[in-house]
Amino acid sequence: MTDSKYFTTTKKGEIFELKTELNSDKKEKKREAVKKVIASMTVGKDVSALFPDVVNCMQTDNLELKKLVYLYLMNYAKSQPDLAIMAVNTFVKDCEDPNPLIRALAVRTMGCIRVEKITEYLCEPLRKCMKDQDPYVRKTAAVCVAKLHDMNPTLVEEQGFVELLNDLLSDAIPMVVANAVAALSEINEQRSLIEVNSQMVNKLLTALNECTEWGQVFILDALAGYAPRDEREAQNICERISPRLAHANAAVVLSTVKVLMKLIEQLPNDSDFITQLTRKLAPPMVTLLSAEPEIQYVALRNINLIVQKRPDILKQEMKVFFVKYNDPIYVKMEKLDIMIRLAQQSNIAQVLSELKEYATEVDVDFVRKSVRAIGRCAIKVEQSSERCVQTLLELIQTKVNYVVQEAVVVIKDIFRKYPNRYESIISTLCENLDTLDEPEARASMIWIIGEYAERIDNADELLESFLDGFHDENTQVQLQLLTAVVKLFLKRPQDTQQLVQKVLSLATQDSDNPDLRDRGYIYWRLLSADPAAAKQVVLAEKPLISEETDLLEPSLLDQLVCHIGTLASVYHKPPNSFIDTARQPLRQINNSASNHTAAAAADILGSASVSSAPQPAVIPAQDNLIADLLSLDIAAPTPGVSAGMSAAPMPTTGGDFDDLLGGIGGGMGGGADLSGLGGIGGGIGGGLAGFEDGNQAAAGNAGIGLSDWFGGSSAQTQGVQLPRQVWLDAAANMGLQLEGTVVRRNGMITLDMTITNKAMQAMSGFAVQFNKNSFGLLPAEPLQVNAPLFPGQTINVSLPCNTDGPVQRMDPLTNLQS
């Protein structure tokens, strides 16, 4: 007899019938009825009307029935908070039951009922259970503290549960320790309450050898957040956890790799110990590639990070990343990425022959990526470029439409990397002009024609053939076409005047795309005003493209390495982008806003310390923002005391940074011709810091689009004024909000800024510092903010700037920090 029969009742009056059965005297009937209720609940029927009747069944000595009733309660208590109170008595009683299984069940379930009134009753039983003599109950109670904290953090703190949890870290039973550390990490994530210290680390390392595989993951993940005091401690931790690399569970292996990768950073770089350790890392990662495909995928995404961070570890392992016929497509794609990263002169022949093989498979996306990979190999390993180009030509001969298009796109990049080397193949490319129907391929081909117009006899005819359907083309193609024709004109002015006029009028008069129109006007004006200058600008030598594409920004990479195995490491996005902002505890921490600020500040510093200095990462919770900062400073090795000290290294998280970049980026490819002229992108690194008692408050970087670069020719003294943008947001910068814009006033570039103090304390001693930037922009005079800025106050300042500062070319120009 199976349980599926419970799903079959569909007749009317069912609820009523169930009600009768639930109140039956016969135990057997009661149990059957509860099963039916659960079955209905499972398929999504609303059986909440039966709440009182089901709760009545709760007092039973039948464990199965009890579990089912508990399950029902967890599902419906939230919708019936008043009735849920009815269950409290039984819960409290069950927490005293002689059977530890029931005690644990009661405390576990009670924690899952997210009803505020119940949480009050939970405290006493929970406290008892945390000291229960049975470890099964204790390990359950440990998790329950995290549940309670999720609903009501204040209660957990006030009732001293954190201390009790801390005590459980010394428990004799490893599983209790593991659950306690999991709960603590969870609580710390929202609000740092307990600092992981070296004593605690020792306890965890001891428990690590004996707890379940899952417990090992909790412990390792907690260790990943710990910064050892010195090299010796780091080395000791490495030695004690490295045996975990031999664990059969992939999660244990990846968490071990994470901790090791992080600790290696703190050891002297060329020691024997590191060599040994890195040698140990490769085999377990290779073995992960024989795991289930989903796990392979996670492993591959993480290997991608590891290869970027420490290319040495896997450089000998190219072969294991060769694609197998029956790999799922997502595994194939990731393997390809890693193959390219590992490609070097010694293995390039093998890689190329594999890529060529892949390029003839059937999956279109995979084939495209393979073709693209061949191009990337050519750019990365110079010695192989000849062979790559040859391979690409062979692929073009196959005439498979998407292969040809992809090949054209990568050949354009190869031309940019090795100018004047492979132009002989242009004629072959031109033969395939008609088959190109994708914008990127068309745009690339047009770029090639424009760039090498002097070598292609019929360049004018080829380009003209595109003009007929000008307005049906994709913007990308239109822009390239415009640029290519202008290039052609500058190279062969005699016979292409008509053509250039046609394209300029198409772009400026008949198009409603502002980008296209603007670029058209710029060319037009340039050509009519000063053809020599136009030549200099349009035909300027282009910077070489870099060898490695899509490398992660180093600080993000470091951050991700500390989160190996997590979503962030799979998506290569900063961990905080996965933090759930919508989540709210049942009751707020406190009503005072200062508490929130403190928590926010702790968050920032916590994340900053990951990527910057190896100083204690955890800040004891205090109500006051400034107190927090003070305690940090005292703990820091070199406390800054004097007021008005110059700005120190400033934490900038990747996310904020992106948001602040207000610059306008010039397009790549042909678009690159224009940057510095039409792109008008400018960036200013401004670090603005407020000081109070030697504490540096917040600082960040702002990118500002200079809109007015070009306005000079039309004789305006007062340029267009851009609306103010938020450069620094108060929430992310400890209450200092900075908005601003760039204007041109009396021939000087001026920063107009609005500074708002949204913190609880007054700010004073403002100063500004510019990072080296592409335009040599520097403040012409010191920032004048005399009076202290009180909470809630706003002040407007203007800062004239000049451009005599040191110039550091940023790539792209709008970038602030390389």
Partner: protein
């Protein structure tokens, strides 16, 4: 940090079982899963993780079910995926086939297990041996309510006390799978051996076992460098093995779970001569016929014999009217996988066999191109390990001091054994 909820769905995305662990996602979010999956499949961009703005889905597919975990924070995905796979294992131990019907049939137990295996998103007890001691469908047969077994929270969480056998026996199987990938021109691109040591343990009490292998590191350390030894590249152990002990002196010491389990796995990257090598020559006359000449060579010792050898050779999907000629074994055409299979029951070492095949092709050529699947070979060679690994001893000590018998078997078989075709 952890899963918000676990769902078991049927192929259409309908919920069969749902268990909410953290109450931070609306359980209705699961309705978004299937449309999202279908959308990604159409784009050809499916990954085992799907991001939706309300929740992240991490999922695996098992028979006709999806096991989905929803998450809202930066979870440890490898942990979540391991948990999902492990839970399928546990369900399999409970009711053999895990599929839609059996899950429905056992929904009460599934709920109980989900409750025990995970708490607030943290995986807990997942040893089915132990779980079966206190979670069962047979409650009415029990005289009193079960209690949590000691083993749950013990350091030895995989074995309960008080196990008794009349005859104490241990069976050890060393199984090596050979993975090989060869290119169309006959070069071996990749070859590795993945070995596992499986055990079936029928021992009384709490026995302490020590397994000795001809591990190169150990042998060289103890000055026995001359005897034949094997360098194990990467070894993975069942959680019962004391990893720190292995790390310090290479001893494999453990208290085994009861019954069958996988003690360890290892991987060797040594390039070995392919055990069975296939040479093909294909003559393709478009629009009319295609002819194959296949030569199969066994390249292992004459003393050994490969059993149940199957050579699977792909053919165009529009081929028909097969004709085969061979001196040994049998050949059958399997149009459903667009291939023919040459089966040789017994294939001694150092031999060579031939097969010729002939297919007709339609005169009209199909539009879309086909993939080029590789040739695959399946085989089993008993009493033989490619790596040369050997069990030197298996010492069993138990405080009652009983006699016990260890049995060891060796077998080599194919893993991913593929040769690309021209």
């Amino acid at each position: 940090m952890a899963s918000s909820a676990i769902f078991i769905l049927d192929l259409k995305g309908k919920v069969i079982i749902a268990r909410n662990y953290r109450g931070d996602v609306d359980m209705g979010v699961i309705d978004k899963f299937m449309p999202l999956l279908v959308e990604k499949e159409e784009e050809g961009m499916v990954t085992p993780i799907l991001i939706h703005h309300e929740a992240t889905f991490v999922f695996i597919k098992h028979s006709n079910l999806y096991f989905v975990s929803t998450c809202r924070t930066n979870v440890n995905v490898s942990l979540v995926l391991s948990f999902l796979y492990k839970s399928v294992e546990v369900f399999t131990d409970y009711f053999k086939e895990v599929e839609e019907e059996s899950v429905r049939d056992n929904f009460v137990v599934v709920y109980e297990l989900l409750d025990e295996m995970m708490d607030f998103g943290f995986p807990q007890v997942m040893d089915s041996n132990i779980l079966q001691l206190y979670i069962t469908q047979e409650y009415h047969k029990l005289e009193k309510a079960p209690r949590p077994p000691m083993a749950v929270t013990n350091a030895v969480s995989w074995r309960s006390e008080g196990i008794k056998y009349r005859k104490n026996e241990v069976f050890l199987d060393v199984i090596e799978s050979v993975n090989m990938l060869a290119s169309a021109n006959g070069t071996v691109l990749q070859s590795e051996i993945v070995g596992v040591v499986k055990m079936r343990v029928y021992l009384t009490g709490m026995p302490e076992l020590r397994l000795g292998l001809n591990d190169k590191v150990l042998f060289e350390g103890s000055g026995r460098g001359k005897s034949k030894s094997v360098e194990l590249e990467d070894v993975k152990f069942h959680q019962c093995v004391r990893l720190s002990r292995f790390e310090s002196d290479r001893t494999i010491a453990f208290i085994p779970p009861d019954g069958s389990f996988e003690l360890m796995s290892y991987r060797l990257n040594t390039v070995v001569k392919p055990l069975i090598w296939i040479e093909t020559s294909v003559e393709r006359h478009s629009h009319s016929r295609v002819e194959y000449m296949i030569k199969a060579k066994s390249q292992f010792k004459r003393r050994s014999t490969a059993n149940n050898v199957e050579v699977i050779i792909p053919v165009p999907s529009d081929a028909d009217s097969p004709k085969f000629k061979t001196s040994i074994g049998s050949v059958r055409y399997t149009p459903e996988q667009s291939a023919f299979v040459w089966t040789i029951k017994s294939f001694p070492g150092g031999k060579e066999y031939l097969l010729s095949a002939h297919f007709s092709l339609p005169s009209v050529v199909r539009e879309e191109s086909e993939g080029r699947p590789p040739i695959k070979v399946k085989f089993e060679i008993p009493y033989f390990t490619t790596s040369g690994i050997q069990v030197r001893y298996l010492k069993i000590t138990e405080k009652s001091g009983y006699q016990s018998l260890p049995w060891v078997r060796y077998i080599t078989q194919n893993g991913e054994y593929q040769m690309r075709m021209k």
